[in-house]
């Protein structure tokens, strides 16, 4: 085995601990159905659908759950006649 590779490694357990803390904080919160990010996502999508026909391929929703700050990015391609809701 490669010694340099072995000795240059840092412990991976702290990374595991940190990742789990962030993830579980979000998951425990959402089991009471209070995942803010998910609620925002759903309500924003509902508002968009009210005003234009939502073409799933033209809407990209990205989330990044952080320890203290999370981000929600909704990217919508609005066509010229996007104001008309196709019924």
């Amino acid at each position: 085995m490669n010694l340099k590779r072995f000795f240059s490694r840092s412990a991976s357990a702290p990374a595991a601990r940190e990742r789990l803390q962030v993830l579980l904080a979000h998951e425990r919160a959402s089991s009471g159905d209070s995942d803010l990010l998910k609620t925002l996502r759903d309500e924003i999508m509902a508002v968009i659908a009210k005003h234009m026909q939502v073409d799933g391929d033209k809407v990209s929703v990205k989330m990044e759950r952080g320890a203290s700050v999370s981000t929600l990015a909704v990217d919508i391609e609005v066509p010229f006649d996007g104001g008309k809701k196709a019924a």
Binding site: N2, S12, A15, M63, E64
Partner: protein
Amino acid sequence: MGKVIVVTSGKGGVGKTTSSAALGAALAQNGDKVVVVDFDVGLRNLDLVMGAERRVVYDLVNVIQGEAKLAQALIRDKRLETLYLLPASQTRDKDNLTPEGVEKVITALRKAFDWVICDSPAGIERGATLAMRHADVAIVVTNPEVSSVRDSDRIIGLLDSKTMKAEQGERMEKHLLLTRFDPARAERGDMLKVEDVLEILSIPLLGIIPESMDVLRASNVGAPVTIADNKSAPALAYFNAARRLKGETVPLTTPGEKRGFFGKIFGRKAA
């Protein structure tokens, strides 16, 4: 048209999720376009093993229920641009997976990717049978241990009867992936040998993945082991398995035959 692969076993904890991520990444590292699909609805973990757990927006159930488009639910890997993940739902259960829904999703993925790798849940119920339903190839993940071998035998039976291939009278291509293999214990006679498992299950061997700390380290940092440490013994074993999956002939070596000095000290296998 891509190939659909199910990574299955019957028994839990044998290394299906680890192998799905590692093989998926290995194929993508080669430039192929790969999607790994988590079928473990209610107990998803592939997102965690692949380090995408903070970015899950939509999941397989959302797509099946029409709440999200497939393209919205796919998460592109941050390290490999041809590697994607379709996560499972954490909050709903397996009853949300309908056969029609799964078929639609798999058909669409097959068109867009070279490889569709379905990480099966443990058991022989709905989740597991739906994960294998549309497969062209099955990877049966087995540990050299009696209950795992027995469960694999059961799964092989299902692969030969409950899949689309089987129902159409075709033969399902099956490969054995022997994981968590500890050569020292096998040598001591405390563990089933490779030949023993092969003789009992009688399907061809795709690879032998050694029991290794590198797998644990990789899951700690959220990277498939073939990305986390591409020179480690399990990574090399997964790279070889991926090449065999692509049809190459790669000679088989039993990993870590000898334990070196450092191997003894640190309890690690020499590569």
